[in-house]
């Protein structure tokens, strides 16, 4: 019989996959999407993978935690989003709740995608999976 922890994780993973699918439909130019638990485990991924999703999950959970502590130390509240604007694309990292569990979503895009568009899609995906 599965434990409560396992049932909860399975539900979060299912909702994470749903969010990945919604984001892939909504965002042209999104090459890779990974959703990770706050402690760096991959929950779901999609798109053309330029990097191992398990590795990206660990990386972005560290980024998110460092961004959050920097926000708190700077007295600007809780971090919601971090952006790595690189020469050939962007990594957009958003912290959100998925069925009550803190998760980190990373969207890897090419340079043509507008940041506002990514933020809008991420917010829409969060509402979609939490309102379901």
């Amino acid at each position: 019989m599965p434990t409560l922890f396992e049932v909860s994780s399975a539900d979060v993973a299912a909702q994470a996959l749903r969010a990945v699918q919604a984001l892939l439909v909504d965002l042209d130019g999104a090459a890779t999407i990974v959703i990770a638990s706050a402690d760096g485990f991959e929950l779901a991924h999609g798109g053309r993978l330029a990097v191992a999703p398990a590795r990206l999950a660990a990386l972005v959970s560290s980024f998110a935690a460092l961004g959050d502590v920097a926000s708190r130390e700077s007295s600007i509240g809780t971090a919601r989003c971090l952006v790595i604007d690189a020469s050939q694309g962007r990594l957009v990292v958003r912290c959100m709740q998925l069925r009550g569990q803190a998760v980190v979503v990373v969207v890897l895009t090419d340079a043509s995608v507008l940041l506002g568009r990514v933020w809008h899609s991420l917010a829409a995906a969060e509402r979609l999976v939490n309102d379901a």
């Binding site: 434990t3 706050a38 402690d39 485990f41 590795r55 660990a58 560290s62 935690a65």
Partner: protein, 177 residues
């Protein structure tokens, strides 16, 4: 590197007490990147995923910056980032885990290429409840790999124990300088 500003890194398995050690010694509120742990095998509520940071003033203008790494191997990329320009490395080993010698060996392997550049010390925790392997057995593991550095039993909740680890690393670094 000058003795005015000294960087020491704490590394070791999850639950070995890296965050606790830095909090015990730091003069300032430590920076922590602990998040909710979802790994049922770890038996802890929160775990570090980025780094820990604290600092301690040793007097005479000497400030030691203390950094902690995440313990899990999936965060190995952070180990290298945190270790940049560090002069000292503290291995923390939890003797209550199933195979502490294997843990120690794994961390020695992971840090192998950086060991020649750094002064090292190992702190073995929870030795009162878990007496085996002994501190000597941990030291023998080092010797078998051609390594020699201090291995001591510690309780990282005690400030004096953590300070002893830092003192040992500083003394070794001065010898190397």
């Amino acid at each position: 590197m000058t003795m005015k500003d000294f960087k020491i890194v704490f590394t070791g398995t999850p639950g070995a007490g890296k965050t606790t050690a830095i909090a015990a010694l730091s003069d300032t509120p430590p920076v922590s990147t602990e998040v909710q742990n979802t790994d049922a095998g770890l038996h802890k509520a929160r775990t570090t995923v980025g780094l820990d940071f604290g600092q301690v003033d040793l007097g005479d203008g000497q400030c030691v910056r203390l950094f902690g790494t995440p313990g899990q191997a999936r965060f190995e990329f952070m180990w290298r980032i945190v270790a940049t320009d560090a002069a000292g490395l503290v291995f923390l080993i939890d003797n209550s885990r199933p195979d502490p010698l294997a843990d120690f060996a794994a961390f020695l392997d992971a840090w192998r290429d950086l060991l020649p550049q750094m002064s090292c010390v190992a702190g073995i925790g929870r030795t009162e409840a878990c007496t085996r392997p002994s501190v000597d057995e941990h030291a023998d593991l080092l010797a078998a790999r051609g390594l020699v550095f201090p291995v001591v039993a510690v309780d990282v909740r005690r400030r004096d124990d953590v300070l002893m680890l830092v003192d040992l690393v500083l003394a070794l670094a001065l010898t190397r300088a």
